[in-house]
Amino acid sequence: MAGRLQVNPTRMELKRLKTRLKTAQRGHKLLKDKSDEMIRRFMEFAKENKSLREEVEKELSSALTTFVVAKAVSDEAAIQQAVAMPSKTVSLDMDSRNVMSVLVPVINIKESQSGETYPYAFSSVTAELDSSIEALNKILHKMVKLAEVEKTCNMLAIEIEKNRRRVNALEYVMIPQLEETIRFITMKLDENERSNIVRLVKVKSMIAEERG
């Protein structure tokens, strides 16, 4: 297990180590609390992430399937022409939020609609394209939300892992090492004390013998 540190067994060193031990123990407790809270938050995000992803995957697959059908029934060039100029522009408002000192993204969507939802003449393409584009428009918000939540999950998971390493390093290496060294120094100092007393007693008895 953890060996003791290479230090001189002096009173000053002992005092210094005791302070360090106290700091380490406090740090350990704080990090452990942080870890608990991060895991609680993470579970919330993970659950949201899972349900959101299930929804998006289901809706997106079906929307894309409709799109494939639309492509199959009408001319490829017509479709390309139809989707080339989307009627609305989407931009994102990016921000970040502090979750347990992890800076996670917050993404808001900004849409500006100009004119019709369907940026093409109905005569040129089939109804399948309409429905697939309508479905995709609906999913857009969910997809952006998914991006935000999934990224938060990723970052929290990495942070939790890092934090756990720190807690373990403190608990299993640093604190035992300090305790071991403190014990060593106390024993060494006690030993010195005892040998000093023995010497004094011996000297005293020698003096008493000389006089007597």
Partner: protein, 108 residues
């Protein structure tokens, strides 16, 4: 500077659909092409959607972008059924954070 834009990377056919909802579309058929495109996009775009099968091939590269807030690179399914890559990502996150997968086991 990063702009608030959304990019989609994947094969040409399906990706056309996203153009209709005003996302920027980039075509990448294989691993090398995908890698090149994503490296370039990561500098300017804030959200990048990648099709699952392409994402599965680029696993190593995508891991690199996980630690920063932006860009968020998110796998999405193609038409038909999802191949489970996205869900596997959530599962991996839970395993990483908790040590064991408690989210998916519970409901099985």
């Amino acid at each position: 500077m990063r702009e608030g834009k959304i990019a989609v990377v994947g094969d040409k056919d399906l990706i056309l659909a996203f153009k209709a909802i005003s996302m920027d579309v980039f075509c990448a058929e294989d691993k090398d092409e995908g890698e090149k495109v994503i490296r370039k996009l990561a500098k300017t775009y804030s959200v990048i959607f990648v099709t699952e099968d392409l994402a599965a091939q680029l696993d190593g590269l995508l891991c690199k972008y996980k630690t920063k807030a932006y860009p968020a690179i998110i796998p999405i399914p193609k038409s038909g059924k999802s191949n489970g890559y996205g869900m596997a990502g959530i599962k991996a996150d839970v395993e990483r954070a908790i040590g064991t997968d408690i989210l998916f086991n519970k409901e099985d």
